[in-house]
Amino acid sequence: MKHVLVVDDNQNILNLVELILESSGYSCTKANTAKHALELIYDENNNYDLILMDLAMPEMSGIDVLKKLKQDGMLHEQKVVFFTASSLTDEEKEDLKRIGALDAMRKPFSKAELLEFVGERLT
């Protein structure tokens, strides 16, 4: 079973994503702060197949997490994708990829969109 770490400061979104992913056969761990996410990632007992992370979060953003992982040489082990409620232009998507993200998608999303996006990144 593929294990996805979902990071978002919005608990409702976390629950929604968990519901969709688990209903489709994924195992899901939720983190509602970047800091918590990093703790989970750095815990050697945990192993995530994909990290689905919000961009805009208070205190520490998704990009900060990505940078931190990159800095600590952890990024090559992790597949990080973002989802964001911001307007996401192609250029912004490219910027994210340049700093180490696999891809990014927009919120809101339909169930099918989310599953397709996650599914493609895990094959």
């Binding site: 409702n12 192609d90 910027d95």
Partner: protein, 675 residues
């Protein structure tokens, strides 16, 4: 100034007389021309005024030496000469009315010098006189003899003539005549003579006033009177009295620099051929009544030499005369005068006193007097110009101040603009943030409602399903509205980023149609593609944005096409090598009512509100389409017929380049990624 005189002295008297006039003229002209420039170029004029002022100041300082020698009593005389010059100047101007005025003025102004003016025609017949017979009131000449002399002399020489002293017929006073030929200015023909009768005594008084007001102070002879043999009859310097002007004693005292010319001139003058006019001392014993008692002199000098005058006259060698008093009459055109049936011209005097030896002061004063006029004029003009200059400087300062204020304002404005730009960026970031904040809560609404609808959360009954469906579609359209608003905002402030790349239009259309097929099928609407023309379907554009336009149009078409029997045709046409590619989305819907067609591209405008409310829509779609197409230098339009359908078109030039600036769209660079 002395150089002016000596130079002009080589010419005729008349020319000399014009020298100061020319000077006046030059100054006047420079002032006038300066004034003319005033409106044209204030700065240039300012410079000219400065230059002119400096020049005039220079001239003034040159004259200050002479001016300093003039006592206050002389100023009255200055006034007199000033008038004469002023009159002479206006006479010179050739204005007929001016001449008449001048004649009147000359008569009154010079009344104490000039006894009468009169004019003889080319046959020597008296035509005009300011003197009239008290009995008959007829104009009269002075004496037939005098008339005859001045007429003959001027006709013979065509030059001004000054007669010897003679006794006036009327009162037996000692008078002389100053005459000038009237010469046709075109043909040079002699037309007559103008003459003035001058009383010797009043003239002498004038000379006294003008030349030798204070001989003692001046300390050298101011006026020297010679007898026909060249003996000095009067000189303020008493040492020379009675001596012959050509004697070694006198000549020896002449400064070497001017000696040769002066002596030659004196010789010529004394020879009697060049205009030393005799005062017959025997006929005028009053000249001898009171001798100054100078020693060893065969002739005694008069105590009051200014009651009578002897003058040397040489129009050619003026600069070397000991005393040169000349009277020049201005030529007048007699024919003009006569044809006017009234006398508009007349004799007029220009008085100049020149001298070199021992009479330098006389020269100086006379010149000063003339120049005083110039000076006062110059001073007045200078003051005027200085005033103008000051005004200009004030204006300049004002302008400089305004300029500074403007510069300050400009700076302030540019700072404001900068702030506004920053604010704009802030606003954009604000918009992005708002978008983010508005959309985030929609995520669970859309997501959960969808999960409810697809049964993930258990089966819903019909009523529940319909309700959740409304919630879902409302949330979706709200999300769409938020995106559209952000797009509109970006388009409005020119922050919409267009990524110009080669785009395969065929693929683009096919993807679009494919994406809408499910929706179309649901509604029972046919969706077809038509390719027109033979041109290449790969162009430079922002594929995502063009797709957005297409999506919008197709979505609208499906929305408005009649359910179950709708038919939509998406077509693309490009002629071979055509410079534009045209997209068309045709439906067989209800059409757009004519009265609403004009507003169709306006923001938040919906032709059929009931329809859009049902079908969902923001009223921003077409406005965004238009903006996107126009940003591609393209055009969007439509054709619509009620009951038949509507076709939306847009065309994009095929000549766009990837680095082409599009309607000033320029996304400001951001550090990292905005959220």
């Amino acid at each position: 100034m002395s150089s002016h005189i000596s130079e002009s002295g080589k010419h005729t008297l008349f020319n000399q007389a014009t020298v100061p006039l020319i000077l006046i003229g030059i100054i006047g002209f420079s002032i006038l021309s300066s004034v003319a420039l005033y409106t044209a170029q204030a700065n240039e004029f300012k410079q000219i005024v400065k230059n002119a002022t400096n020049e005039l100041k220079g001239e003034l300082s040159e004259k200050s030496f002479y001016v300093s020698q003039i006592s206050s009593e002389d100023l009255a005389n200055v006034e007199e000469v000033t008038k004469m010059i002023t009159n002479a100047k206006s006479f010179q101007s050739g204005d007929l009315d001016g001449r008449k005025l001048l004649l009147d003025a000359a008569e009154s102004d010079s009344s104490d010098i000039v006894d009468a003016f009169f004019i003889l025609d080319k046959n020597g017949i008296l035509q005009y006189s300011t003197a009239t017979d008290p009995a008959t009131q007829k104009i009269i000449g002075t004496s037939s003899f005098s008339d005859h002399v001045v007429y003959v002399k001027t006709r013979e020489t065509l030059k001004p003539f000054i007669s010897p002293l003679t006794n006036a017929v009327s009162d037996n006073s000692l008078v002389f005549f100053v005459a000038s030929p009237i010469i046709d200015q075109l043909t040079g023909e002699f037309k007559g003579t103008v003459a003035a009768k001058i009383r010797a005594d009043t003239f002498a008084k004038h000379i006294e006033k003008l030349v030798v007001a204070k001989p003692a102070d001046i300390g050298s002879s101011s006026l020297t009177l010679l007898d026909p043999n060249g003996n000095i009859m009067y000189s303020a310097s008493s040492t020379n009295l009675g001596k012959n002007v050509l004697s070694e004693e006198v000549v020896g005292a002449i400064p070497a620099s001017i000696k040769d010319g002066l002596v030659a001139s004196l010789k010529e003058a004394v020879s009697g051929t060049s205009g030393i006019y005799e005062i017959n001392l025997k006929e005028h014993p009053e000249l001898n009544t009171s001798n100054s008692g100078s020693s060893g002199s065969s002739t005694t000098a008069p105590t009051n030499p200014f009651d009578y005058v002897l003058f040397a006259y040489d129009p050619v060698k003026v600069e070397n005369q000991i005393v040169m008093i000349s009277f020049v009459t201005k030529s007048a055109n007699l024919e003009t005068i006569l044809s006017q049936n009234e006398i508009l011209g007349g004799a007029f005097l220009y008085v100049f006193v020149y001298g070199t030896l021992g009479t330098m002061t006389a020269f100086g004063i006379a010149v000063i007097i003339i120049n005083m006029k110039l000076s006062s004029k110059v001073e007045a003009k200078t003051k005027e110009m200085e005033k103008t200059n000051m005004e200009l400087e004030a204006k300049t300062k004002e302008l400089e101040k305004t300029n500074m204020e403007l510069e300050y304002s400009t700076k302030e404005i540019s700072e404001q603009a900068k702030k506004l730009r920053e604010l704009d960026i802030e606003k954009e970031e604000f918009s992005a943030m708002i978008t983010h904040e508005l959309k985030t809560p929609l995520v669970p609404v859309i997501g959960y409602s969808e999960l409810m609808l697809d049964g993930t959360l258990g089966e819903l009954n019909q009523k529940q399903r319909e309700t959740v469906q409304v919630m879902n579609s409302s949330a979706v359209s709200l999300s769409k509205l938020i995106s559209d608003l952000l797009d509109v905002r970006k388009l409005e402030i020119g922050k919409m980023k267009f990524e110009m790349r080669d785009c395969n239009i065929k693929e683009l259309i096919e993807q679009c149609v494919k994406a809408f097929e499910p929706l179309a099928r649901t509604k029972g609407v046919g969706l077809g593609i038509e390719w027109k023309g033979t041109g290449k379907l790969i162009i430079k554009c922002d594929a995502k944005r063009i797709r957005q336009v297409l999506d919008n149009l197709v979505n609208n078409a499906i929305k408005f096409a009649p359910a179950g029997r709708g038919k939509i045709q998406v077509s693309v046409s490009r002629e071979h090598e055509g410079e534009s590619i045209t997209f068309a989305v045709k439906d067989n819907g209800i059409g757009i009512p004519k009265e609403k067609q004009g507003n169709i591209f306006r923001k938040f405008y919906q032709a059929d509100t009931s329809m859009t409310r049902n079908a969902g829509g923001t009223g921003l779609g077409l406005a965004i389409c238009k903006a996107i197409v126009e940003a591609h230098s393209g055009r969007v339009w439509f054709e619509s017929e009620a009951g038949v359908g509507t076709t939306f078109y847009f065309s994009i030039p095929t000549t766009l380049k990837s680095n082409m600036p599009l309607s000033g769209q320029e996304m400001h660079s951001r550090d990292g990624v905005a959220e």
